[in-house]
């Protein structure tokens, strides 16, 4: 009996706060709604459109307007792209470029972050503002300046190489006159310069984020490690890195996404969509979709492939980060 009378009471007692909580719980969703609507209209809807477009043959602007039919082609756009040997070149360029850039950006950014953490207040402010300048420069403006630096007649780099002693230049590179040298001629050289420009643009963010992470690490930990006789290398890998692992995780994900879809810098350095051997996925998608004659369907399918690759990469990292948190 006692048990019988008790049960409804306890369930009722459990129910009331639960019900109240449910009523209260609607508020956050309501508050999120405007944001969700904006994301939906500005991100999800276009994304859905791109996915939809990739299944149609869209070669006429009037189709976008709805004046003409959209012929369904199923996976034909994907088959065409994936079967094109040129796609392999583009994919290889993209993956290698992204890998190199993420690595370099992370290493340089972390080093600068560590440096900023060690510097005195005045010096740190000075270095930080220098670093911020690179970050604050818009991609377009910055890249144009870099292009001038590598100009074949009056560029700073050309001038520097010309200033090398002729004999040294001759023995190192086989020629001493650098005026008129084609800095962007070979794909490897082009990608090296592009890497320089992209890393220059993106390392400040990493540096500042790492610095923010470092500030949250209690300095006793470092001191304790140093007292125990650990060198800087060991302190970083045994203390700093494990503590900042989530920060590094998210920074690597972000860098990967950014470096996979580099467009502005490449477009400016290559002078448009002419230099096909140096194509990467985003400029390839743009060139196919918008260069006359337009092939919106084909361009959309390349964009979808790029998105899928990024989703996979991001998914892997997110799982890694989550797993590490569980382990910890």
């Amino acid at each position: 009996m006692t048990t019988l009378t008790e049960t409804p009471e306890t369930s009722a007692a459990r129910e009331t706060p639960a019900r109240r909580r449910r009523r209260v719980d609607r508020l956050p969703y309501l508050l999120l709604l405007p944001c969700l609507v904006i994301i939906g209209v500005l991100l999800l809807w276009p994304l859905g459109q791109v996915v939809a477009m990739s299944f149609y043959r869209l070669n006429n602007v009037r189709q976008l307007r709805g004046d003409r039919e959209w012929p369904w082609v199923g996976l034909a756009n994907y088959v065409e792209i994936l079967g094109d040997p040129f796609f392999r070149t583009v994919l290889r360029n993209t993956v290698l470029f992204a890998a190199a850039n993420v690595l370099l950006t992370m290493v340089l950014g972390t080093l600068v972050g560590l440096l900023l953490n060690r510097l005195g207040r005045k010096m740190a402010a000075f270095v930080a503002s220098c670093v911020m300048l690179a970050w604050a420069t818009p991609a377009l403006t910055g890249t144009i300046v870099w292009k001038w630096i590598f100009d074949d007649t009056s560029g700073l780099v050309t001038w520097l190489f010309n200033a090398l002693p002729d004999g040294l230049s001759q023995s190192l590179f086989g020629h001493s006159d650098w005026t008129g040298y084609g800095w962007f001629n070979s794909p490897l050289l082009f990608f090296s310069i592009l890497t320089l420009v992209v890393v220059w643009h993106s390392f400040p963010f990493i540096a500042v984020s790492v610095l923010a992470g470092l500030k949250s690490v209690p300095s006793e930990l470092h001191e304790a490690a140093r007292v125990d006789g650990a060198g800087p290398w060991k302190v970083f890998w045994k203390v700093t890195f494990p503590l900042l692992r989530p920060v590094f995780g998210i920074l690597i994900v972000l860098s990967t996404i950014w470096d996979f879809k580099v467009f502005t810098q490449q477009f400016v350095l290559a002078g448009g969509t002419q230099d096909r051997p140096t194509f990467m996925l985003s400029i390839y998608s743009y060139a196919e979709a918008f260069s006359p004659p337009p092939k919106y369907g084909l361009g959309a399918s390349i964009a979808v492939i790029l998105t899928l690759i990024l989703l996979v990469v991001t998914g892997l990292y997110v799982r890694m980060v989550l797993k590490q948190e569980e382990d910890a």
């Binding site: 008129g180 060139a287 006359p292 004659p293």
Partner: protein, 429 residues
């Protein structure tokens, strides 16, 4: 008072909704009869020559249509394709537009331009337009644009440096190389010739000079002419200027015509390929150059000037325009022989009328005379809307030449690859 205040937002919403509704509902019918405004898109930045000339055209046009306001919008050349696509996708375009004559077929295939075949055949003055240019604005036998002005590329050279080196303007390929080498030797630190390795149109003069063709149509299939010995000879000559004769630097593989022109204008090169219309830009870079420059037609291999591509502009009526009759009236005023002559001259181009180009009008102009000679022998790139993909998107010819200049491919391999790519694009279903 208080009540009105409270109602004010409601009233505003209702009123604006009503405005939106009537605006949407009425616009379709209204526009058909609305001749109060004619929108004209012109390429470029709206230079003084352009605006003065177009103001004059408007005055002349309004004598016949006093109630129509002509609104001219300037669109930078490089922006034009995006602007056209957006207009076509959104449905709000111009009534009349200028466009590059290499693009007319492509936009006609995109159903952007109105068919003016009938209007054209009923227009007397238009019968004197150079037939090659008229044909260039056709697609499947229909006329989609009207030629406005045209020009050809030639070679600009420094008369003072040539005199110092003791060479004359060349008339054969061998003389061209010899002159470039002689001047380069005399003037260390400069290039014999500023070669736009990443441009196709100057190169076609060399190709056509050997008798080769870009591509020819046999029945339904296009066949590229790049694998012929003549074409390979042209590619070899063009790329040898960089790789063997070294009268242009390796960086030239990436130069377009503007880069090359700047080299000449700034005193870094003895010769440069350029159109007659580039005089203004060169003088802007270096006003002094006027005293020491000259031009000559691009030489063929054996002493005759090579055929040149007739570049320039067409004027077209936008297919979505609801004022096409009015647009055509504007177009015929714009393109009257008198106006055409005046405008073409102010830009450094040639008018498109046969009777205005021939004759000896240009013989005394030291810059224009050689271009006028070249105008007598023009050729066109393949007449198919797919050409623009070969030329602009895949840049087949430019890539072929640069790959040889950069040492990535032999002439045989580069021409074979380019021919295969060109044929696959032109013959795609």
């Amino acid at each position: 008072m208080n009540r009105w205040k409270r109602l004010a937002p409601v009233t505003a919403v209702v009123a604006s909704a009503a405005m939106v509704l009537t605006g949407c509902g009425g616009s379709g019918d209204d526009e058909a009869a609305d001749n109060s405004k004619l929108t004209v898109w012109m390429m470029g930045e709206g230079s003084e020559a352009q605006t003065t000339f177009l103001d004059g055209v408007e005055t002349e046009f309004r004598q016949k249509h006093p109630d129509t306001d002509v609104v001219v919008q300037y669109i930078p050349w490089l922006e034009a394709p995006k602007k056209f696509q957006a207009a076509l996708a959104g449905g709000e375009g111009p009534d009349v537009t200028e466009l590059g004559n290499t693009e007319t077929q492509g936009w006609a295939a995109q159903e952007a331009l109105a068919d003016v075949t009938n209007r054209m055949s009923g227009w007397t003055e238009g019968k004197d337009i150079l037939p090659d240019l008229v044909k260039n604005a056709q697609l499947d036998g229909k006329q989609y644009g009207v030629p406005w002005y045209a020009g050809v590329r030639g070679i600009y050279y420094r008369t003072d440096w040539f005199a110092e080196a003791g060479v004359k303007p060349p008339t054969t390929w061998d003389e061209l190389v010899a002159a470039a080498k002689a001047v380069q030797a005399k003037k260390p630190g400069t290039y014999g010739i500023a070669l736009p390795g990443n441009s196709e149109l100057p190169f076609y003069s060399f190709l056509w000079g050997t008798g080769a063709e870009i591509a020819t149509q046999q029945g339904d299939t296009w066949k590229s002419g790049y694998t012929t010995p003549e074409a390979q000879r042209a590619v070899k000559f063009w790329t040898d200027l960089v790789t063997v004769h070294k009268v242009a630097p390796p960086a030239a593989a990436g130069w377009n015509e503007i880069d090359a022109r700047t080299q000449f204008a700034t005193g870094k090169a003895a010769m440069a390929f350029g159109g007659s219309w580039q005089q203004g830009a060169i003088k802007k870079d270096n006003p002094e150059i006027e005293k020491v420059w000259g031009t000559f037609p691009i030489p063929g291999p054996d002493g005759k000037p090579a055929p040149a591509f007739a570049g320039g502009s067409d004027v077209a009526i936008w297919q979505d325009s609801k004022r096409q009759d009015l647009a055509w009236d504007y177009l015929t005023v714009l393109l009257s022989k008198k106006n055409d002559q005046a405008f073409a001259e102010s830009l450094g181009f040639f008018p498109v009328y046969q009777d205005l180009v021939s004759g000896d009008k240009y013989t005394n102009d030291k810059i224009m005379a050689p271009f006028a000679t070249a105008m007598q022998n023009t050729k066109l790139t393949p007449l198919t809307p797919k050409w623009v993909e070969v030329s602009r998107t895949k840049t087949v010819t430019q890539a072929m030449n640069s790959s040889v200049m950069k040492g990535q491919k032999t002439v045989e391999k580069a021409t074979a690859d380019a021919a295969a790519e060109m044929e696959s694009i032109l013959n795609a279903k």
